[in-house]
């Protein structure tokens, strides 16, 4: 498994989100330039997994997000933290929309 998500970006539209499955997993949101602005997960309490998690962003996309990509993953908690750590290692900080509420005790990679 790659450390970074490698799937192509898809426009953050109602139709694209509605086409998602209800699986657990992780996702990234990016702006028009392809810069990751938010990393999130659809956990065991989400009503319809990735579909409902992404749907919550449609009305008010964080930090100008316009596209998304997902990864179905039962180990969504550790994968979510890994993606944040990889982003911080590669860019020096967390995605802009994650900075207000980062996970407690996020680790580091080098």
């Amino acid at each position: 498994m790659h450390l970074q998500l490698t799937k192509p970006w898809r426009p953050l539209t109602e139709a694209n989100v509605a086409a998602l499955g209800g699986n657990l997993g992780v996702y990234q949101l990016a702006n028009d330039a392809g810069e990751v602005v938010f990393i999130g997960f659809a956990g065991g309490k989400s009503l319809f997994g990735l579909r409902s998690a992404l749907a919550e962003h449609l009305a008010a996309p964080p930090a100008g997000a316009s596209q998304f990509r997902v990864e179905v993953n039962q180990q969504y908690q550790s994968r979510y933290r890994e993606l944040l750590m990889v982003h911080r290692r590669d860019t020096g900080g967390l995605p802009v929309a994650n900075r207000d509420a980062p996970p407690v005790h996020l680790g580091r990679l080098s």
Binding site: M1, Q77, S78, M85, P103, V104, G107
Partner: protein
């Protein structure tokens, strides 16, 4: 021989049980099913409560400010503390505190100032770095990380895998080979700081535990001052080995706690769920599963308490620790599996904690030495030597 709890033990167990049910379990209703951390405000509030109860830092020796609770009572408490969704790997989300790395009590005064005391105050966190890609069951022979003396320093090169908490730690206890010709007598224990150049956390190792993950480490010309050798050069394996035996008792207790809760859930469900016009509890197939669960739980419990009692009395307990680890981890898996079977489809969902326990308790048959190594340890003790 008294198999009953003392009045004090009964009170302590009851207090912890109420704490878990009244304080921890309700918070879990709002957390992600795989969560391992409380909101900081809840964490601080509950830490204050455990301090008020006199239970904070359970395994810290009294000489260092711990509550001076014997290991048998601590084992009974650990069984209770595991009886919630995150309880197997994060009992009560850590609000009871702990000594962290017990090896630090063997450190010299300077090392205690730099590592032990800040750890006990909760200011610094450490990791335990033993297992390598070359193997974990036989660490003394498998260790390929080398440390070479260079002036006043040691220079480490190598890697570690399945190391918990290393990505969030301030320092670690790391084992490296310092004499290639001496086997287990050529291993030295080092204290390394996470900020030292050459220390890398390369990746998260995803396992059946979603949140309490492991990491892979790499040391590239990691320069460690000679003052950071823990214990004596070439005598590090004894430090590792002592830790492995002691850790098997609370490791077993966690499995018993989860199994106990799973059994409680299975019994409650069997007494309210109807199939074909009658309760599950009336079905012989279900009754036998519940009886088998109870046998597994009680067997594990007595073996673990027997090991703890020997440890408390200061007599050798290696065989007992291996036996309780083997039995409690395997029995715990069977109990959770049967409880899921009784719950049917709901047992497979994240609505109930059984699904999480099922994944996490599987690791317990491998972690802290797999079942086969526990049998090897017992065979050596019973036969009086190594009969290969």
């Amino acid at each position: 021989m008294d198999l009953e709890l003392s009045e004090e033990q009964r009170l302590i167990v009851e207090t912890v049980r109420k704490f878990v049910r009244n304080e921890i379990a309700p918070l879990e209703a709002d957390l992600d099913p795989d969560a391992t951390e409380l909101e900081p405000i809840d964490f601080e509030r509950l830490v204050a409560q455990t301090k008020e109860m006199g239970f904070y830092g359970l395994d810290i020796p009294a000489a260092y400010g711990g509550p001076d609770i014997d290991i048998v009572t601590r084992t009974l408490m650990a069984i209770e503390m595991a009886q919630h969704r995150a309880g197997l790997y994060t009992p009560c989300y850590g609000v009871f505190g702990g000594a962290g790395l017990a090896q630090l009590f063997e450190a010299n005064d300077d090392q205690k100032e730099r590592y032990l005391f800040p750890t006990l105050r909760g200011e610094r966190h450490g990791f335990f770095g033993l297992t390598e890609p070359s193997g974990g069951s036989d660490p003394a022979r498998a260790i390929q990380t080398v440390a070479v003396k260079d002036g006043d320093d040691w220079v480490l090169n190598g890697s570690k895998i399945f190391i918990s908490e290393a990505d969030r730690a301030d320092y670690g206890i790391v084992f490296a080979r310092t004499d290639a010709a001496k086997g287990r007598a050529g291993i030295t224990c080092f204290l390394i700081d996470a900020g030292m150049p050459g220390f890398h956390v390369r990746r998260v190792v995803h396992t059946l535990r979603s949140t309490h993950y492991a990491t892979e480490l790499q040391f590239e010309d990691l320069r460690v001052p000679a003052g950071n050798v823990l214990g004596e050069v070439n005598k590090g394996f004894a430090i590792a080995n002592d830790r492995l035996s002691r850790q098997r008792i609370p490791y077993s207790a966690g499995c018993i706690g989860v199994a106990t809760k799973a059994q409680e859930m299975a019994i409650a469900y069997a007494k309210q769920r109807e199939t074909f016009g009658d309760l599950l509890a009336t079905r012989q197939g279900v009754q036998w599963m519940i009886v088998d669960n109870e046998i597994d739980i009680r067997t594990s419990r007595w073996l673990t308490l027997a090991a703890a009692d020997k440890a408390r009395r200061g007599v050798p307990f290696r065989t007992e620790a291996a036996m309780c680890k083997l039995v409690a981890t395997e029995a715990g898996g069977r109990v959770v599996d049967r409880a899921m079977q009784i719950h049917g489809g709901y047992g497979m969902t994240k609505d109930l904690p059984l699904e999480r326990w099922y994944r996490e308790i599987r690791i317990r048959r491998i972690g802290e030495g797999p079942s086969e190594v526990q049998r090897l340890i017992m065979a050596r003790d019973l036969l009086g030597g190594s009969f290969h």
